[in-house]
Amino acid sequence: MARILAVDDSPSMRQLVKLALSSGGHEVDVATDGVEALQFADKQQFDVVITDVNMPNMDGIALVKELRRRTNYRFVPLLMLTTESTAERKQQGKEAGATGWLVKPFDPDRLLSIVTKVLA
């Protein structure tokens, strides 16, 4: 079981990601944007962070950059889960330090298998 932080400004998406991952036995916390996610990440250590890209206050790319600056998140898997699908945005995510890029809508089983894979 892993401790996962799911970040999305959409309440329904937060719930769906949480539902999908908790059904796989993971413990999931949720944050509404990058700023809140950083506050959570500074208070406790997560094994995986899954974040949307387009969010108010701080977007997912900026969040990944900020997390990678922290020594305790340098090697933690950071997954982008977004409707953004262009090669340019994906490259931005990669350069920021993201571990992977998942395009919505997500399949719960697929999401679980990816989380398992990046945790291995």
Partner: protein, 157 residues
């Protein structure tokens, strides 16, 4: 100002008012839809927890498949919100006002808009607005660009 220039100016003003009204209505509808979608997600989570049979019990796999189907289907709301946000942004660009007054759904501005619409709106305006939106283009085309990843795809770097 010539008669035709005045007519063009008037049409632009009508379009601006129409676009602003449409953007406000859209924002209102989007906000109203958030709570029901979130309630549905919460209910699904409770159902899944309440009905989950023990591991290996008959029906466990079926429940998991049904929950997965619900999770996939419920994501339509997020997708719809993203598309409507693009349309709202386009409408905002057409509007007379940049819409900062929308915070808290400014009732006063809404009354002004309704009055303006009643005064100015003609059937022709609807056609003009649609034509303008179509010309602006780009609505709901995320991922249409070359090299875009398919929906539901994933890539580990």
């Amino acid at each position: 100002m010539s008669a035709s220039a005045a007519e063009v100016h008037c049409r632009c003003a009508i379009l601006g008012v129409s676009a602003e009204a449409a953007a406000i209505l859209l924002a209102f509808a989007m906000r109203e839809s958030e709570a029901p979608a979130a309630a549905l997600g919460s209910a699904l989570e409770r159902l899944e927890q309440g009905l989950r049979p023990p591991a290996g019990a008959p029906g466990r796999e079926l429940l998991s498949l049904d929950v997965a189907a619900c999770v996939r289907a419920l994501q339509f709301h997020d997708r719809l919100m993203q598309q409507l946000a693009v349309i709202r942004a386009l409408l905002t660009r057409l509007a007379d006002h940049p819409l900062p007054q929308m915070a808290g759904f400014g009732a006063l501005r809404w009354e002004e808009l309704l009055a303006a619409l009643r005064e100015r709106l003609a059937a022709q305006t609807h056609d003009d607005l649609i034509e303008l939106l179509v010309r602006t283009g780009g609505v709901g085309a995320p991922g249409g660009a070359g090299g875009a990843a398919a929906e539901g795809s994933s890539e580990l770097f």
